[in-house]
Amino acid sequence: MDIPYTVQARPDTGVYNAKLGIWLFLASEVMLFGGLFSSYVLLRVGADHWPHGWLNVKLGTANTIILALSAITTLLAWAACKVGQFNKFKFFHACTLMLALSFLCIKMYEYHDKWIHYEIKLTDGTIADGHLEESDADSVTIKGRIVKDEADLYDLRAQPNIPSDEIKIERSKIASMENYGPWHNTYLAIYFTLTGLHALHILGGSVVIGYLWGPGRRMWKTDPERFTNRIEVSGLFWHFVDLVWIFLFPVLYLT
């Protein structure tokens, strides 16, 4: 059975069906991320303190450039299909896949950095803050600093030279300790939610791009126009993922 309008434009809509389908899907995605951005605004406006400088701007910038490059290679892969240069398509799509995986690797590194970052409240009322180096039954060793007030940990941009010393703490002196996971505070909760959902989109897009680069490319031999449309549709999704990051990066890393 033939699926209608996979190549030709449908007369009443002016576009082929998959293209209208992906735009409707993207519209629902805009609502999904719009709801989360809206929550971010609500949480931020209602917060007494909002952290600044908690994320690595260099890594965020690198990821922005990587995603922009991947969006460009996606477009060039589609254009290569349009002009019938399949080898160029394979090259550009492979580049997209590699860039997507690079993005995810950097994101995982950032998550790991937060996972091993601890805020330890001590029995004398001070707070030890830093990355976990060693932990055993009697003591915990971190690389960081000790502050008197939790407020000192919020605006890191205002503190240019933050000490990073090796500190060994006896377990008996620890009142509580918690890592910088999504449960730590509102900022990290919305950070992990937004970037986690975005990373899942990157992962899903990578699976589709990988399929079209691998087993899915057999369609080029039987129906190149339909295959090219598949590349266009997957590319539109990829550009949307890039667009979301264009707002996530400044909202979470820079402000």
């Binding site: 002016g14 809206s38 605004v41 609500l42 460009i72 890039d242 667009l243 264009i246 400044p250």
Partner: protein, 123 residues
């Protein structure tokens, strides 16, 4: 065999004739567009980072400036990479409804921020 006939080897490497709704493609033109878009994204990203480190502005002023640059950046990506500068009316209609609903969503958030039950005490 379906109506999608098998193509010959010569046809595999030939430019597509464009039975679909899209326009003919000049690959070199796309390369030039991509270079322009990439440079624009680089400039916008650099500008946002620079603004975020400006010393004499409040965070609210910086947020406004950074989001303005991000919006321009997004417009370039959507316009050139997603072809929104030359799309069909149907796609613009879908997007127009999306914009209306997203604005409604943001308005609801703003409305909820100021909608307290009677007798609420603010601290």
């Amino acid at each position: 065999m379906s109506s999608h006939e098998m193509k010959t080897a010569a046809q595999h490497n030939a430019p597509l004739t464009g039975q679909s709704e899209s326009h003919p493609v000049d690959f070199n033109k796309y390369v030039r567009t991509c270079v322009f878009v990439f440079l624009a994204v680089l400039c916008a990203t650099g500008m946002m980072v620079w603004i975020s480190f400006l010393p004499h502005y409040s965070w609210s002023a910086k947020v406004g400036m950074i989001l303005a640059v991000a919006a321009c950046n997004a417009a370039v990506v959507a316009g050139f990479l997603m072809h929104l500068i030359s799309e069909k009316k149907m796609i613009y209609t879908v997007l127009a409804f999306t914009v209306i609903f997203v604005l409604g969503l943001f308005w609801l958030t703003w409305y909820a921020m100021n909608d307290f039950p009677s007798g609420t005490t603010m601290h």
